[in-house]
Symmetry: C2
Subunit: 326 residues, 2 copies
Amino acid sequence: MHILITGGAGFLGAKLARQLLARGKLIDSSGQPKAISNITLFDRVAAQGFNDARVTIRVGDVADFETMQRVLTPEVQSVFHLAAIVSGEAESDFDLGMRINFDATRQLLEIARSNGNCPRIVFASSVAVFGGDLPLQVLDSTAVTPVGSYGAQKAMAELLITDFSRKGFIDGRAIRVPTVSVRPGLPNKAASSFASGIIREPLNRMPAICPVAPDTRVWLTSPRSALFNLVHAHEIDGQLLGPSRALNLPGLATTVQEMVNALGRVAGEQTVSYIRWQEDLAISRLIRSWPGNFLSTRADALGFVRDQNFDDVVRAYMDEEMTSTV
Amino acid sequence: MHILITGGAGFLGAKLARQLLARGKLIDSSGQPKAISNITLFDRVAAQGFNDARVTIRVGDVADFETMQRVLTPEVQSVFHLAAIVSGEAESDFDLGMRINFDATRQLLEIARSNGNCPRIVFASSVAVFGGDLPLQVLDSTAVTPVGSYGAQKAMAELLITDFSRKGFIDGRAIRVPTVSVRPGLPNKAASSFASGIIREPLNRMPAICPVAPDTRVWLTSPRSALFNLVHAHEIDGQLLGPSRALNLPGLATTVQEMVNALGRVAGEQTVSYIRWQEDLAISRLIRSWPGNFLSTRADALGFVRDQNFDDVVRAYMDEEMTSTV
């Protein structure tokens, strides 16, 4: 079984690859687990730290047609399409966001279609497809109303994935991933970057700026739950998704203040003093437009998972990502 | 004031042009009525029957960049973008639908953006953006879930129009036009073509085939209401639309049987005998996936109109379109 992961040098892509290598198998369209023979990690920089004969590292532009034709060959039965321009950058550079988040996705779908093998394609969409005047809990039937270019581009790609799947060109699954926290590594240009930074930096005795108010509501997933859900999205029967291949994932509904409280409980109150509250209106506007709570009925019924509390998420970050605990 | 109408040789486009010429004025971004100095009617065939110095007839491919750059110049402050591949054809020729319904729309928006004058753009979207498992009444907050390529392409274009408007590139309005009945002229490749044919053909003593069951629910607009709403969509302040520039229009909720009953009442029972009921599963599937009823709260509050009963719609067709009444 050949698998392609775009954004394969990124944090989630690399973790996903490690998990797949460790599992060794993945359920395909036969409904049976198949041995994973090849994983191609594609990204604009080379994925690091892989030493496994099953892994191929490829570097290039995900929006370049010839490059992607060489990467997404008819042998590839499974694609995890994670490559994206994050929310903050898609907002400041509209054309770059269109090119990567929409055009490159469309092109990938077209290559898959021309390959004629109806691959399973898991697309990392986002809660940012929702915005504006929202109910207290977003339902599966709630209209998509993005108020940022990132969300608009993801929503357009979702529509394509549903229609390509309906036509039998691909077997797609577009999962709306909640804000991932705690991400390891460095801050990025996502508006939601702070949601990891305010936990990660204090745990590493570094200062962190929180650009949103403490009462800001967020819908979170730990990396562990996000990874489980990415793999699960691949393994379920796509027909179970019904007419729309887009799916609101389960998450943890909390506030930024509650996240900081959890940090204090788990790592000690002195840790919290590394956080400086300094509102950034551009970030705050985007974050507040995203929903803070969902009733994820469809995804719950399909076996997707959520985190139960943020204290455990902080502990998991410390266990998995820190060489020495605080 | 310069106006561009794409699909200007089509039934709605040509009627819209005549109405605008008769009015002579249109409210623009100043909030004041401005004299209409130029109307460009663009289509793949030449619009016929115009003899007015204000009208320019242009013929070409709406998806061709250089053509559209010559048509949508910085002098154009208003665009009615009606050109489309209809539902049945977009379903049977996926690539043609993408090219015209999505790519050409995107290109038009990009040209408008580069013109730098933030034109008002009225986009004819469709109730076909909805499908699948729908509530009995579609609300303004109901999720868009197209189950046809036409609806998917329109929904993607709506998202672009909203985002281009939010960014200040254009001032767009995407109105989801109900099924238009009674259209004059010949049948077309729209799945909904029958909704005019079963009235028009019998009135002209011609046989008509109805490809859907009598209890099929439909959401209708007369040409007259559709034209009022197109002009109204241009004249309202775009900010009133809120975060999404897409709008469910008011319509008349009825069934195909009730339409036929109205025909019999207005034109005589013998007229009904011209209709032959012969279900076409491809058409029926698409039509049944579309919603038959809406609660169009936003549009009602903004002053968009609906027809009160189908008997009047049949009478209006006879008055306006038939040289001799039956």
